[in-house]
Symmetry: C2
């Protein structure tokens, strides 16, 4: 693979590019009318994720419209629990619902046996994307990290504080470790299969890492991240892995130093200059981020000034411009267009 044609991959290999490559988390989604038109054709959200024709189409929509440097597979982190046998339902406007795991009998109902079979439509989506994307656009595969997936499986739904998984992890640490181990293995298998299907980079979303104290973070987030990065490097040394441990604040540098990841995605709250200093020893690690998605809901002038500040603060590191969290549904598409136009024109 010739990286020089794909700025996104060049930066993950340690190059600095000006202007920085750009893509946005949830760049395919409800804020786009063409996405809503496709979404209306299926009854439920998982059906969209599992129908290659439609998943390819919504993945490509923002590439056509905005000219991003990377396309990320359209899917959801909960396809892994689903492929392990968990019930996963997406009720309109309510977020996901799962049958909560509370004990060993619940855990025993999950297994790896049919993982690839159930995820085959995702792999087919990636194969089609790999041949459909323009030469200069990279294809990103992804998965939820084990802690975040375990949190949904134990809580049974989204949460602010995630007390159910945090309590189970303390009361039944061996049971919880079995769950995290199973998910770690599933994530490695899933991401490795995504590479075989055409993914050129991988991102691991630990969206709820930020609720854990240090010792728990080490055990349930950092250790699995190390295992996942190591397993993928062994199998696919050419494929960079980006970690997104959202909300981990002062612990961020450990994810850089201790895992061997090629990139670190920064959430909205992280001062990018601080992060650049904190990961100095982990050269040439790329930083990704971290514009506040709410900035896309405000006036254009303030948006572009904030984008400039982030680009400037990251200028001495390999940097991929992104948000610190996903695009919000009320985002005006013209704001995204203005942001990309600004970034592409402001370099040099």
């Amino acid at each position: 693979m010739d990286r020089s044609h794909k700025p996104f991959l060049a930066v993950l290999a340690g190059e600095r590019r000006d202007p920085p490559p750009v893509w946005l988390m949830r760049q395919a989604g409800r804020y786009l009318p063409e996405y809503r038109a496709v979404r209306a054709r299926v009854r439920d959200f998982l059906e969209l994720c599992y129908t290659p024709e439609l998943a390819v189409e919504v993945t490509l929509q923002p590439i056509r419209r905005f000219g991003f440097d990377a396309a990320i597979l359209f899917s959801d982190i909960l396809v892994v629990p689903h492929a392990l046998g968990a019930e996963v339902r997406f009720a309109e406007g309510e977020g996901p619902r799962l049958d909560p795991i509370a004990d060993a009998a619940d855990l025993a109902r999950l297994d790896l046996a049919r993982l690839h079979e159930r995820l085959e439509p995702v792999y087919e989506t990636l194969r089609r994307l790999a041949s459909a994307l323009p030469e200069e656009v990279a294809l990103i595969g992804f998965a939820g990290a084990p802690w975040t997936l375990a949190a949904y499986l134990v809580e049974g739904r989204g949460s602010k504080e995630w007390l159910a998984p945090r309590t189970l992890a303390r009361r039944e640490p061996r049971l919880f470790a079995s769950l995290v181990d199973l998910l770690t293995e599933a994530v490695v298998e899933f991401l490795s299969a995504q590479v075989r299907a055409g993914a050129q980079a991988l991102q691991l979303f630990d969206s709820w890492a930020g609720v854990l104290p240090e010792a728990e973070l080490e055990r349930w987030c950092l250790a699995p991240a190390k295992r996942i990065v190591a397993a993928l490097r062994a199998r696919h040394p050419e494929v960079p892995v980006i970690l997104f441990p959202r909300g981990v604040g002062a612990h961020l540098a450990r994810f850089a130093r201790e895992t061997g990841a090629a990139g670190l995605s920064l959430d909205t709250t992280v001062p990018i200059a601080w992060a650049a200093e904190a990961v100095r020893a982990a050269h040439p690690l790329a930083l990704q981020g971290n514009l506040d998605p709410v900035a896309l809901l405000g006036p254009e002038q303030a948006l572009l000034e904030e984008a400039r500040r982030i680009r400037d603060a990251a200028a001495l590191r390999p940097h991929i411009f992104n948000l610190g969290h996903g695009v919000l549904p009320p985002t005006p598409p013209e704001r995204v267009a203005a942001l990309v136009r600004y970034l592409k024109s402001a370099g040099g």
Copy 2:
């Protein structure tokens, strides 16, 4: 005031004490059967906050049962919006509901005119507590910080992401600044009156500071905290202020360095040894925290080991032992008793 009799105040004055003084956020609350008995006597939660006889009783319950080194006024951060004229309702099991502020007309309905009149029952509670508490127990007053109060006022309820206030702050920064200014003034007046009524230390809870990017955090959290600490120091130089900017991660040191606060309360996610290093320049600032409240739901042995780790990691700073967030309703009171017993016996 002779601080040597009150270990909590001695530590806030810069002394190290071994064992460290201890109190817990939400030490008065639903996990105590004697609290639930008092709660059952009133129809709604605000009535409990505004009935001095009952508020005094529930404040004293954990002091009698566990022998904490500080009692914190039993109240709620939303009494300030309520005293400014906002509708505030606590529906059972649902959390607070407020009529959301969306524009200048909504904001104009809030005013300071009747603040002290409406909060008089809170001051009466403090006066009674000041004479009822044992000599060695300090009395803490508190308020919600302006950003967190504004977030509830604009969102109208609790939230994970607080998109309504974050969006309003970007779309209508002048309106939002007026709201934060009004709340800053109200908080100063409220805390100052608490001191006149007998509070010997003050804690400012910025529970939702952790969702903001750096520039917004500076404007809506750090700047108001500076103003509040400066105004209170001018009026009551002997009364220490503790800041609790929850979830601010890498920004924590700025709250220490730039505000002149006497203490910094650490949330669960902050490695206390990292925080001690980060605030080194702000000697003799006291650190407070930061045991995970979920540890109180797990086995006693693991709880005491974690308490020991925190005590040891903070041993070189003035340290007040506390949780990183409030006591959870399912907490067994005997775990709290075991924790306090352990801390009191393990020093020396």
